[in-house]
Symmetry: C2
Subunit: 215 residues, 2 copies
Amino acid sequence: MVRNISSRRLNARNAGGEEYEKKRNAIRVAAAAVFREKGYEAASGDDIAKRAGMDRASTYYYYNGKKEIFRDMVGDAVKDNVLMAESIEASDDFPAGKLRRLIEGLFSSYARHYPYLFVYVQEDMTRLMNDKTEWSESMVSLNKRFDDAVIKIVQDGLDDGSFRTKANARLLAIGIISMCNWSHRWFDPSQRLDGDKIAAGFSDMVIDGLAITAK
Amino acid sequence: MVRNISSRRLNARNAGGEEYEKKRNAIRVAAAAVFREKGYEAASGDDIAKRAGMDRASTYYYYNGKKEIFRDMVGDAVKDNVLMAESIEASDDFPAGKLRRLIEGLFSSYARHYPYLFVYVQEDMTRLMNDKTEWSESMVSLNKRFDDAVIKIVQDGLDDGSFRTKANARLLAIGIISMCNWSHRWFDPSQRLDGDKIAAGFSDMVIDGLAITAK
């Protein structure tokens, strides 16, 4: 029976029918809502099926459980962000301009992938990483590449003298990433405050500072 | 039986014996470790008992389940932070000085209450607030008082002209609080980087900015 449903799922996926993809999408949307509300660990397959208006057994025709749904929803979004950060880092711009584009790019990505990226950010990946699969290792490596790109941008600014502060690039990068990541608790792209305004406010604060005293 | 254990617990608590308090503390420490690893929702009473080296039934003599442990560990720490933020806000200092003391105070509080405050920060309180108890409402109100104190500090700086930036005080305050809160993912007071250094690095970045261009 289990083998039977897996091979039916595999066949349906390979066939790639429009209706099948629509249902998969509906399950992802339902699962994202449940993950946001209860957290990944506490969410059950029943919760997800109920939210999607399906019975639990039918969901197996589309996904082999919540882990597969989670991976499917966040994988591409995370990869997009890493490629964005790396291409900004490698671009021909001043460090301050890169930092600003990075922060804008992150909020635009949060909005575009809403709420999938927030589901990912809200979960402590060290908790989900106990399984040491190929997937979890690729996520750890993507996270590291993202962090490294931000650290490199800040380090370049310190090296070329356009940034001047006492802390090291890693701590500053953590602060900037933190400021953006925590928005999973309050940012909602359907609300009044759009991502561009948030990104501009945060960029101005970390790049130019709040205080008007001359440096 | 249940009534019996509750009244025995109540009596032991009122008696306030040293051994009894030691055991309660050991359970809190064990629970904090389990909450950090698995998250509050997924943590079970069995996990906590096992970590504390006790059997599940005995833990009821000290705590009536994980909710009570959670509340006990975070309540005082959260209240401390609110009083700190409000007293800094009300003090006689420039806004930039207040902001710096607030960020320092937060990291020192994280270290002092480690890992209890991080357990609290890591949990999305909107998730834990479904029960609408007196406790949950007091936590919502404490969170709001904390946010309000930070917003007021930033607003004062914008009003007296010592801060100059386009974003409003609420967004800036959220950015600063986010930068500190996200440290629950990486800050460990037993490690090399101490709270004072982190706070100084973050304060310099948001108050003075990274860029050296004159404003």
